[in-house]
């Protein structure tokens, strides 16, 4: 029982290591919290579709020039 209590205390102190974010306005803080909540657990669920969308838009706008960007990145290491 004592060890559970100690673990709980440790967990709580770890969670409150930093103060919650305050963006100045209630509206902004609320939306910021909603948005960051999605990114706290397995963010790839949202990042991957977003990146696919941006890549497709890049292809639509740049056309064949997208190949040049890829070649540049592939030489990038």
């Amino acid at each position: 029982m004592k060890s559970y209590s100690l673990r709980f205390k440790k967990q709580i102190s770890e969670v409150f290591i930093i103060k919650p974010n305050d963006l100045g306005s209630e509206f902004l803080t609320c939306w910021f919290k909603k948005l960051t909540l999605l990114l706290k657990r397995f963010p790839f669920l949202y990042l991957l579709p977003l990146a696919t969308l941006i890549a497709c838009l890049l292809y639509l706008f740049l056309g064949k020039r997208i190949v040049v960007i890829t070649s540049f990145l592939q030489y990038g290491f």
Partner: protein
């Protein structure tokens, strides 16, 4: 003898912790970075830097870079500690409760997306060597590669933000300005490194 055995066990435990923390950064980045900011086992940093060194060595052997591995690694270390000193210095100027150990640990772990991107790019360089063609396959791979690169970049940005959040303990806007100030000198510095052919894509 007992002492040496204990040391070996400690080192193995540190390696397991690195793997565990990497998994945390993939599944629960926020919780993972919070845990990492409380770490104080420097063997974990050693393992991360060892992975970076292995990457530089591989890149040197497989691609034949202009500079030797030791030199590139030294430049990487200089960049890394320059970046940490910059944030630490700013934190001290503004009298923030900045933690040097947390800064070192969180930024070391935020190298995970960088390592994944560079190792994958190295792999694709040999599987599908550039330059890409305008064929259907070339364009499809381009979209795939840019999607992958953007995903890793977004993940890197999240980890970079969290690293600053947990080590400086300041709010979102202050971190945003900190990153802008950082980019003010780091962007031209990266261009310089590009022209010197040390890093074509910044290794941070």
């Amino acid at each position: 003898m007992v002492f040496r055995k204990k040391k070996i066990v400690d080192i193995i435990a540190s390696f397991i912790l690195v793997i565990r923390n990497f998994c945390f950064l993939i599944i629960y980045p926020y919780k993972g970075m919070r845990k990492i900011s409380l770490e104080n086992d420097y063997w974990q940093i050693f393992f991360i830097f060892l992975m970076v060194f292995i990457y530089f060595k591989l890149a040197y052997f497989l691609r034949g870079n202009f500079y030797p591995t030791i030199f590139t690694f030294f430049i990487f270390l200089a960049n890394f500690f320059l970046m940490i000193s910059f944030f630490y210095g700013l934190g001290k100027i503004f009298n923030w409760k900045i933690k040097k150990t947390a800064l070192i640990f969180t930024f070391s772990y935020s190298l995970l997306p960088t390592l994944i991107w560079f190792f994958t790019t190295l792999f694709f360089y040999f599987v599908l060597p550039p330059p890409r063609t305008f064929s259907l396959m070339g364009r499809t791979f381009s979209i795939f590669f840019i999607t992958f690169s953007l995903t890793v970049l977004f993940w890197k940005l999240i980890l970079f933000y969290l690293a600053l959040r947990f080590s400086t303990q300041v709010s979102f806007f202050k971190i945003f300005y900190l990153i802008l100030l950082f980019l003010l000198w780091y962007a031209p510095y990266s261009v310089l490194l590009y022209y010197l052919k040390i890093f074509r894509v910044p290794f941070i």
